[in-house]
Symmetry: C2
Subunit: 302 residues, 2 copies
Amino acid sequence: MTQMRTMQPSDDLYPTRNGGEVRMLPRREPVLHGRDAEGPLDAETLARLERDGFWIAENLLSLAEVEALTDALEAWREEPLGDVSDGVIRERGSREQRSLFALHQRDDALGAVMRHPRLVGAARQILGGDVYVHQSRLNLKPAFGGAGFSWHSDFETWHAEDGMPRMRALSASVLLTENHAWNGPLMLIPGSHHHFVTSPAVTPPDHYQASLVEQSIGTPSNDALRALFADAGRIELALGGPGTVIFFECNTMHASTANLSPLPRKNLFVCYNAVDNALVGPFGASRPRPGFLASRDFTPIR
Amino acid sequence: MTQMRTMQPSDDLYPTRNGGEVRMLPRREPVLHGRDAEGPLDAETLARLERDGFWIAENLLSLAEVEALTDALEAWREEPLGDVSDGVIRERGSREQRSLFALHQRDDALGAVMRHPRLVGAARQILGGDVYVHQSRLNLKPAFGGAGFSWHSDFETWHAEDGMPRMRALSASVLLTENHAWNGPLMLIPGSHHHFVTSPAVTPPDHYQASLVEQSIGTPSNDALRALFADAGRIELALGGPGTVIFFECNTMHASTANLSPLPRKNLFVCYNAVDNALVGPFGASRPRPGFLASRDFTPIR
């Protein structure tokens, strides 16, 4: 895919998946790309995002909006969907749906949430200009054993496997069910987005087919996690009710445990990237991932 | 082991592991066996235990007491200990120590905590008379992936595999490290101890060798968990610092998730049984488990 790459290897600020040693590299760009940009976020919220790498906006969407999303998702889930080529990832044991990708390309109601003024407005304000949706997904984390997610930075994968050049992307996780401390909520290490942890393992072909069930390549070493945790002094759980939105920076280290409870944990994710940070060829994989994981339609959304 | 059984099969109030259907049977005995017994617990604490099946006593042990325990455990852990026949259970993947059993038989400092007046006093008060230690263990839940524990009632196993006739036992879990919401704390379903959930699967020989790594037989059905949860309306996390003690009734349904964090979660468990409730032959297994899991020394402790 070299024809896609417009950058030289020397432009790679975050070399990873190259068989080298684990390293912690400093972040090379700001967290707030549009500090003076207009938008819905106040100075305190922006400062918190810059410091911690995330913030939680309680009840950002109304219950009516959440209900419309849930209805759309239920209708969509009832379609006879197949396998990973359709953007459907299943749990290893139970074969229950674990993640559904590229929702915004399939459904008007789901597409509409990506254009929700409070979501896209926040993304534009933080990323400093026009944005597009790099990825959207629903993580279902079923009751009674929906598996967790290993520690990872989204950016490490998006850089290595998708060709995202810089840290200029933001995820918004819309909670569709209550996220309790006991049904596998998102856990984040505050401040971890200031460091890039390299992952030495070379990316195998079609790695996403395994990594979306359980990721092991592109995850940080235990030593790196210890260092990030020592800086932070804590891990934070992102809890909240339906309609709450967790915004987190593309390089914030996060994970979650399995859901042992009787209540599923359904979160919708919209991952915004700056149009000026559009994908090139992958920096640490032989070919890019499919479009349902990494869109190459860079049309700005408003 | 019929020579051990002094009860008739018709005396089995809690039939389980018998190939039948999943049933929820009512609890047949009180939670507080010594309501008028003297002891360290006040009326409010007793009422809470009766209602919820557990309570959390913050900082019951001093930090000096915790330190003495930790030192004794570290010394003990450095011994070249082997396998399950030594009471050492290892994690499936990493082979790290997961649980160490029968600590009170091996070490004076660990034996002393079992006789701590605030622990044994609470057990005597609740269980209504003389008690002995049915089982003691350390659950280590190592950092970076120490596995969780499936939902279970201790009593279901103690009845089926050890021959404990009635629900007249109490566990005290002494926290040796901080139990955060993010390092795999104990989760409990309040009020679940009022019901006995039968487990139809027949107990295989030497079941404990598998169940102590990951339990699948003797665990409740999803429908039963849903019913217990619907009654409770919530799951509670038992959190606290070193020296905090979680007391929970032998039939309270509990579980915990894996520990993904860099901080191990080390909890010491002392399981008291009433001397008047001493073991007979197992009610749902072909032979009883070894003594390090189920002591048959019923000498009262004071």
